[in-house]
């Protein structure tokens, strides 16, 4: 993978860190409603650490993504730490060091990452988690890749899919994470992790172009 890929991935995560900071209160409020009110501060803590990583230390995007995953694991805690950490660690594992960052490559890496999340979280689409935003994005990217779409064109579509997935969590009964304790009372609230995941894909659409 070229230096350009590293720079792009870095731009993506810098943007994500900025956006997470902007949405901290919103994420925390969503988590107060059906969780324990810390998702915003958890993500800010983690992404601040990621944004602080020195790009010069990395030879390629894969090693940078790996460090991002490890950084999230060791700074975030809670459910989001291991899950987002696993997402990036698996993306790193999937992205060979020579790969170009095209739609297929990105879709493949994200897919591997999201599979890591569902494995670690024992979760599936419909459980009212971040997975509900991530899986539609992956599926959208795969479909666009199969049609040969450019990443710059594919990502805005994937972001729309993630947003729709996020919105759809409102109607669901939570079956994983803290919100599952609420049973039916979780209905009517958007899942905070789905909201932060949708922001991740939106950030990609703005930077991986």
């Amino acid at each position: 993978m070229s230096t350009t890929s590293l720079e792009k991935i870095s731009a993506w995560l810098q943007e994500y860190a900025r956006v997470i900071g902007e949405h901290e209160a919103e994420l925390t409020d969503l988590d107060r409603e059906i969780g324990d009110g810390d998702h915003g501060s958890n993500m800010v803590r983690g992404m601040r650490a990621v944004a602080g990583l020195d790009l010069a230390a990395f030879g390629d995007a894969a090693s940078y993504l790996k460090k991002t995953g490890m950084t999230l694991v060791s700074t975030v805690g809670g459910a989001a730490g291991p899950l987002y950490g696993t997402l990036f660690l698996r993306m790193a594992g999937q992205l060979g060091s020579g790969d170009a960052l095209d739609t297929a490559a990105f879709a493949g890496a994200l897919k591997a990452g999201v599979e890591g999340v569902t494995q670690r979280g024992k979760s599936a689409v419909g459980d009212k988690t971040m997975v509900d935003a991530l899986v539609p994005a992956v599926e959208c990217l795969e479909e666009q890749a199969s049609r040969g779409a450019e990443l710059a064109a594919a990502l805005p579509e994937a972001a729309k899919a993630a947003d729709a997935g996020r919105e759809a969590t409102a109607a669901l009964v939570a079956r994983r994470g803290r919100a599952s304790y609420l049973g039916e009372r979780s209905v009517g609230h958007i899942d905070p992790g789905a909201a932060s995941a949708a922001l991740l894909i939106e950030s990609a659409a703005r930077t991986l172009v």
Partner: protein, 332 residues
């Protein structure tokens, strides 16, 4: 936000500085890693006991580090589980070669972070076993939830397994003992006022003057049901019945804990215990040991939880064994 803190971001670090100042004789605090250790390292051959979780439940867990209970507690951010590196560091530090037992409350975050820590430590040759505490009957234990939460019973596991570890029992035996306690213990909690985390700065939920939440956990999360707040005699029923409905507590000595959630004055907790105790008795429950006080809290939440453990002579003996921690002390 009305709190005695410096700033929300440094609450854990700042508070651990206070722990270090408050218990220099019995505890040692690794401020960088947010780990509270016993001042004395475990003696050779003793299994290390490590617990931890989100902060805000004090005295749990750091208040239970000391002779007869934990060797180390890992303090996460408020209501956020600690991270794998931190847990693994504590695990490695208290390993004497006899292995380390993790006592983990069943929350997705705690489970995943302790699992990853166990993998890290195992990779360094440390034998790790885990007791997963999931005693909260308010949550259905099904494929469609994250399973029952770990709440009040955690205190009992830390005390009883801690005493057994002190006797020199082996890792496998301690895990079995912990699992036995988990199989025989149940809890249920109610809240009459919410709590406010430093980071959120807002109450975790809104309750009208005459409302209470049934089946709350220890993270300010709403419960399963919101009902009218009645007299303490009603609340006692609301606490006792779900616990008794879930497990038979008759025909064995029982260890009971009526726990305050943080902001409930002791006078009210005693008053509630005055209703709970006869109710348990009239249901054929023989309370052999009991605690009334703040043992596992949710910051400044108002409310209470009841924990019952179906015990036997062995568990009672281990319960009675000397303990010297900031949160529990007797026999020395």
């Amino acid at each position: 936000m009305k709190e005695l803190i410096n700033d929300a971001e440094h609450v854990i670090f700042d508070s651990l500085k206070g722990v270090a100042a408050a218990h220099p004789d019995t505890q040692r605090v690794d401020l960088d890693n947010r780990i509270v250790y016993r001042a004395q390292p475990p003696r050779p051959g003793k299994v290390g006991l490590v617990s931890g979780g989100g902060s805000g439940h004090e005295p749990l867990h750091s208040g239970y580090v000391g002779a007869g209970m934990l060797d180390a507690a890992c303090c996460g951010e408020v209501f956020t589980s600690p991270v794998p590196d931190q847990i693994s560091a504590a695990t490695n530090a208290v390993n004497t070669g006899a292995g380390v037992l993790h006592i983990v409350k069943n929350y997705t975050g705690d489970v995943m972070n302790f699992d990853m820590a166990a993998e890290l430590s195992a990779a360094e040759g440390v034998e790790v076993a885990t007791v997963l505490v999931n005693d909260d009957v308010a949550v259905q234990d099904s494929l469609y939830t994250a399973g029952r939460r770990g709440v009040g019973l955690t205190v009992f596991v830390e005390k009883i397994v801690g005493a057994a570890a002190e006797q020199g029992r082996e890792l496998g035996a301690l895990k079995e003992l912990g699992d036995r306690i988990v199989a025989n213990g149940r809890s249920f909690g109610i809240a009459i006022t919410p709590c406010t985390t430093p980071a959120a700065g807002k109450p975790s939920f809104e309750l009208a003057e005459d409302e209470m939440e049934l089946g709350i956990g220890i993270h300010g999360e709403p419960g399963r049901e919101r009902v009218k707040l009645g007299p303490a005699s009603d609340v006692a029923h609301q606490l006792v019945e779900p616990v008794l409905a879930d497990l038979d507590f008759t025909g064995a000595p029982v260890i009971a804990m009526l726990n305050g959630m943080g902001a409930t004055p002791l006078i009210e907790l005693y008053l509630l215990y005055g209703e709970v105790a006869p109710l348990l008795a009239s249901n054929g429950v023989d309370v052999a040991r009991h605690l009334v006080g703040n043992y596992i809290t949710a910051l400044d939440m108002g409310g209470a939880s009841l924990t019952l453990l179906r015990a036997d002579d062995e568990l009672l003996d281990l319960w009675d064994a000397p303990v010297n921690t900031p949160g529990l002390r007797w026999g020395c």
